[in-house]
Amino acid sequence: MSEMLLEVRGLKKYFRTPGGMLHAVDDVSFTIEAGKTLGIVGESGCGKSTLGRTVLGMLDATEGEIYFEGRDITQLRGHGKKALHRDMQIIFQDPYSSLNPRQCVFDLIAVPLKVYRECHGKDALHRRVTGLMETVGLAKRLAYAYPHELDGGRRQRVGIARALALNPKFIVCDEPVSALDVSIQAQVLNLLQDLQDEKGLTYIFVTHDLSVVRHISDDILVMYLGIAVEKSNTKELFKKPLHPYTKGILAAIPVPDIDVKRERVLLCGELTSPIEPKPGCRFANRCPHSEQACRLEEPVMEELLPGHFVACRRARDLNGI
């Protein structure tokens, strides 16, 4: 086992809203080995993006600890945080709003290099930016193009180059391919994988697209309304999902194969918002197997099978373990 690059323990992030406390991330714990990819999956509003941003320190955690290379980074402020962002970066979902429309590609990529005074002199800066553009597969002639002149795939490559500029060890990919067409999506996924192999990067891959996460992740964390409901190795999760919610979303993905008819375990109802959640399992009122006790008691994350964690009171009897 290689060493854990990132360890998150009991992380909570609450937001104050007019309706009460919004529990965006509630008591989530996980670890990531160096060079691996953790997929965080869930529907919109489940707190997966907030989790990614809190890990990066873009949002201050309400409670809990985040250890990066064995060091608690939750308390870092000012310069400490700035230094941290050398190692931890983010790729955003929307390649349209994540690039300043008034800056050209060169400037966009050069910003982190300038801020951290990575390059001495104009020539060095030029070389670095050109190198980065090559790495992500952007033609040199695009250096002075503006974002609106690029298509979605190329914009996302600019976003990736910017994240790579400081040679980080760890990158949070926040839905990096959701806004792209399938053929371009595949190009960007391949690029992300190549970069990982080449530079030994560690990713958190936040997405709602299960087929993408299955392809790219080593481990998966499933979130529902701010809590982690299931956590396992990717293969295992897709082979034997234990939590009723995971089963529900797996059954809901439309399969591009006409011979596979999906089983209809349709989840009824919709996501509510995690403002002042009631005690008990948050999934209980959509769960086809919920009992009275589920609504009273908060389920605890348990290791039901080796390396396969699930937070469900009934997971044992439902899956015959």
Partner: protein, 311 residues
């Protein structure tokens, strides 16, 4: 520029090519240097904005070189020749004191334009700064600044200008400050709203993760994206400012007679409005030409500065 970006793509896309020669690694720097040039070119392509710019330039040049251009002294009175219709000697006629209207319009531009531009600059810088800070660091600071702006806004703009002007005394700079103060809250409000909408964009977040300081983010990431609405707002304001200067002059607080100034020429001539048309028409036309030129130019400038609208 966008044309060659979309086409001529190799079928293999932009797959990385390794082992490039060092000489090839240099990015063609000439393209960046041509930035200002391309903005200029885009501006030139818009014919209306060029017309606007020419009109405005003529007025500015006339104001600067008033001494050389004006056929008469703007304050030289010739009561025997008062209220003369336009003729070969006096192209725009003479006013009730027999002063040459053309000369007064030319000299008047000096004060009207200078004071209005100074006023715009003062209110834009002060209001913009307050707005950016307020919008970027919402919370208590925002609350305090905005309440101050509300207080200023609650006082009618003209009344405020009168008070400031009375306190500071007359003169070009003082008049500019007087009219600028009333304009600050408007800019602050506009800027704050713009900043708040831009602040939510992911590129601002990205800048923060890239370690940029708050000040740098404001200047580099946010302010450039507020330019378009600000420019439009500014071109519309200049007219209002010119009129406010004239109002101040009218009640004796702005520019003192016999100093020529478009607004005061208008108000001084208003009693002859039925009997002798040139006395109000020409300064009025001068104001109109300024507004017209600036509006056209402002629209063109906004489009030229926005890379998204580049063709």
């Amino acid at each position: 520029m966008s044309g060659d970006i979309k086409t001529s793509d190799s079928p293999a896309g932009d797959e990385p090519k390794r082992g490039m020669m060092e000489t090839e690694r240099r990015i063609d720097d000439t393209r960046r240097r041509s930035q200002m040039l391309s903005i200029w070119k885009r501006l030139c392509r818009n014919k209306l904005s060029i017309i606007g710019m020419i009109i405005f330039l003529i007025l500015v040049l006339a104001a600067i070189f008033a001494k050389q251009i004006a056929p008469y002294d703007y304050s030289a009175q010739d009561l025997t020749n008062a209220l003369a219709m336009p003729s070969a000697e006096h192209w725009m006629g003479t006013d009730d004191f027999g002063r040459d209207i053309l000369s007064r319009v030319i000299y008047g531009g000096r004060i009207s334009l200078l004071v209005a531009l100074l006023g715009i600059i003062i209110s834009l810088v002060a209001g913009g700064l307050i707005g950016v800070i307020s919008g970027y660091y919402s919370g208590t600071l925002d609350g305090i600044l905005m309440r101050i702006m509300d207080v200023i806004m609650a006082i009618p703009g003209f009344l405020l200008a009168v008070c400031v002007s009375a306190a500071l005394g007359s003169g070009v700079l003082n008049t500019a400050i007087a009219i600028a103060i009333a304009g600050i809250p408007g800019y602050a409000r506009l800027m704050r709203a713009l900043v708040m909408s831009i602040r939510g964009n992911e590129y601002v977040e990205a800048a923060r993760v890239c370690g940029q300081s708050g000040f740098r983010i404001m200047i580099r990431e946010i302010v450039p994206n507020t330019l378009s609405p600000i420019i439009v707002d500014t071109t519309l304001r200049i007219g209002a400012y010119i009129l406010m200067i004239s109002s101040l002059s009218f009640i004796g607080l702005g520019v003192q007679p016999p100093e020529a100034e478009w607004g005061s020429m208008l108000s001084a001539g208003r009693q002859y409005i039925r009997s002798f048309w040139p006395i109000v028409t020409f300064p009025g036309l001068a104001i109109m030409a300024t507004l017209f030129g600036l509006n056209l130019f402002g629209d063109g400038l906004r489009d030229a500065l926005d890379p998204r609208l580049k063709k």
